[in-house]
């Protein structure tokens, strides 16, 4: 008996007839991935399945009893609890504000910093620095800067005669403040992804367009932007999903306030589960978050398919 190994040479099978090279490779392969896979099943897939069951039950923390309640938790969220829709609205506003601002700024910075010039490394380093800084530190410092009258931002605005609002205590300003500071924290990441994409575009394309007499804007619009489309799509997916995950930033800057004005879905799940111990309800919220993120990913993947054909 003989079988082929991966280099295509014929080798003798080992003595035990069932242990073909192919079988051996399968066993070894699974052994190699088993630590990752077992951990993944226990700490990720198991909990993901469990959360479905949790979301269909009502938990009594005193008696440690659970009762099956069907879709009551979902019904509660979607039709009973007015907080839920405010939270969804907040999450959508947060994403709708953050994603375009982040991407536009990232692209602008990348366009400015993709080609080498004196000081380019300096600027790249500065714009990327918040990415390696902990979200907690960033949120703490900005909370300090954005205090009412004593905050540095308002003190500086006062010197030019502007009476700044109490940023984190007024609902609309608070939302704007957490969006902008989050963009500042994360924009560097998208910037370097765009820089990498820009640097992979051959310069000839641009030169050719310039020789044809295209303006800078036309070159961007007709040559660069279409070539960046795949990168733009990936960045959009990552940034949108990321915006739904944001928790620490808002937890520390506004605590979800004022008047729940910055209470987003990730925070709401945390609050319901670990502050109010509404386990069933929190699990239903987690499922809703899962579905939203999944839907966003699928929609964007479909767009990508369309774009490439």
């Amino acid at each position: 008996m003989a079988s082929l190994n991966e280099t295509g040479t014929t080798v003798r099978a080992p003595r035990a007839p069932w242990l073909t090279l192919k079988r051996r490779e399968t066993i070894e392969g699974w052994l190699f991935v088993s630590p990752t896979l077992i951990g993944f099943l226990i700490f990720f897939l198991g909990p993901l399945i469990a959360v479905v069951f949790y979301s269909l039950s009502e938990w009594n923390l005193l008696s440690q009893d659970t009762t099956f309640v069907g879709l009551a938790n979902y019904e509660d969220a979607l039709t009973q609890n007015p907080d839920f829709w405010q939270v969804i609205r907040n999450s959508v506003i947060f994403a709708a504000g953050l994603v375009p601002m982040n991407m536009a700024l990232a692209l602008a910075l990348a366009m400015a910093l993709a080609r080498p010039f004196r000081g380019v490394v300096f600027f790249r380093t500065i714009f990327f620095a918040p990415v390696v800084t902990s979200a907690v530190a960033w949120a703490i410092v900005w909370k300090f800067l954005l205090q009412g009258d004593a905050g540095a931002v308002n003190q500086m605005l006062a010197t030019v005669g502007i009476d700044g609002p109490n940023w984190l205590r007024e609902p609309n300003w608070a939302m704007a403040a957490v969006i902008v500071t989050r963009v500042l924290k994360m924009v560097g990441l998208n910037m370097i992804l765009y820089i990498a994409a820009l640097q992979s575009i051959p310069r000839d394309y641009e030169e050719a367009a310039r020789l044809e007499g295209a303006s800078e804007w036309q070159i961007f619009r007709m040559v660069i932007w279409p070539l960046l489309a795949p990168t733009t799509l990936i960045i959009m997916v990552i940034t949108t999903i990321g915006s739904f995950k944001v928790f620490d930033h808002i937890y520390l800057m506004t605590g979800g306030g004022p008047e729940n004005g910055t209470l987003v879905l990730a925070f709401y799940i945390y609050q319901q589960a670990f502050e109010f111990f509404e386990i069933g309800y929190a699990s239903a919220l987690a499922m809703i978050m899962f579905v939203i993120v999944l839907a966003l990913t699928v929609v964007q993947l479909i767009l990508r398919q369309k774009g490439s054909t």
Partner: protein
């Protein structure tokens, strides 16, 4: 007055640089303000804003350690991040190697299966994980903070990063190793790993920072001060009424952030590239 061509270019360049500097202010300023305020006293911190403190209060950096077991918390963060990094490197390179090099039944399906994890936010699985950890009896220990990043979506991302790198490596050396009678594990450890230093470095960097900056998990799993990690400790410098003690909080934040920033400044190229790698593949 008309400007000559080179003069015009200089003006343009200067305007360009100035606008970049203006955009850079909100990125750079918070760091400067954080450090400077960390040296101010509790009253000066609310007075006239000055970048250079009028009196340098070094005392803040002593009080930070008196207020809570900050040295211990600092150490916790370091050792947890190291443990997470070493485990992630080992497991992700092992699994990534198998997925890249070994043709085994079910490998393709396994890839898709693992990849689906990249879309799931941690918030979705945190509640069942809370009960799992409670059942395992590891609440208020560092076990969840080590296990969850290693086996969660971040670990999967690291596995893919390693796989992509192994796929692109030339096979010849490994085949030579096989001829010399090395086992699979031997080939992985002695040949494949040494060749994949750049990928290992990238995984190490993003994993260390991922663990170092983790907030939700410590918040959910830890309750005693001496078990806290840095991000949790930083949010905890408050007076009995819950109002932040800004001078201590900012001094502590500086102590946590500045070492990372120094490493970043030294190795910024390598660090930025690591994030670019993970971003494109993750």
């Amino acid at each position: 007055m008309a400007l000559s061509q080179p003069q015009l270019a200089t003006v343009k360049r200067t305007c360009w640089m100035l606008s970049l500097v203006v955009v850079a202010i909100p990125f750079l300023f918070p760091f400067l303000w954080m450090i400077s305020s960390g040296f101010k006293g509790p009253t000066e911190i609310f007075g006239e804003p000055t970048l250079i403190p009028r009196t340098w209060r070094w005392q803040n950096f002593v009080e930070v350690f008196d207020y809570q077991p900050f040295a211990r918390q600092y150490f916790n963060s370091i050792y947890i991040a190291c443990a997470v990094t070493v485990l992630t490197l080992l497991l992700s390179s092992l699994a990534g190697y198998a997925l890249a090099r070994m043709r085994f039944a079910g490998a393709a399906l396994l890839m898709v299966f693992l990849m689906s994890a990249l879309m799931v936010p941690e918030e979705v699985t945190i509640v069942p994980n809370f009960f799992l950890m409670k059942w395992l009896g590891v609440m208020d220990t560092h076990v969840p903070l080590i296990l969850l990043p290693v086996f969660g979506p971040h670990g999967v991302m690291a596995t893919f990063l390693m796989r992509q790198y192994f796929v692109a490596l030339p096979k010849e050396l490994e085949d030579a190793g096989k001829m010399d009678g090395l086992s699979r594990v031997g080939i992985w450890w002695k040949i494949a790993l040494p060749m994949s230093r750049p990928a290992l470095a990238a995984v190490a960097i993003i994993t260390f920072l991922f663990s170092w900056n983790l907030f939700l998990e410590p918040l959910v799993f830890l309750s005693s001060l001496e078990n806290f990690t840095l991000p949790l400790a930083l949010s905890n410098f408050t007076d009995p009424y819950g109002a932040p003690l800004w001078h201590l909080q900012l001094a502590a934040t500086s102590l946590a952030v500045v070492p990372i920033l120094i490493v970043y400044l030294i190795a910024q190229r390598q660090i930025i590239e690591s994030f670019a790698m993970s971003g494109v593949k993750g």
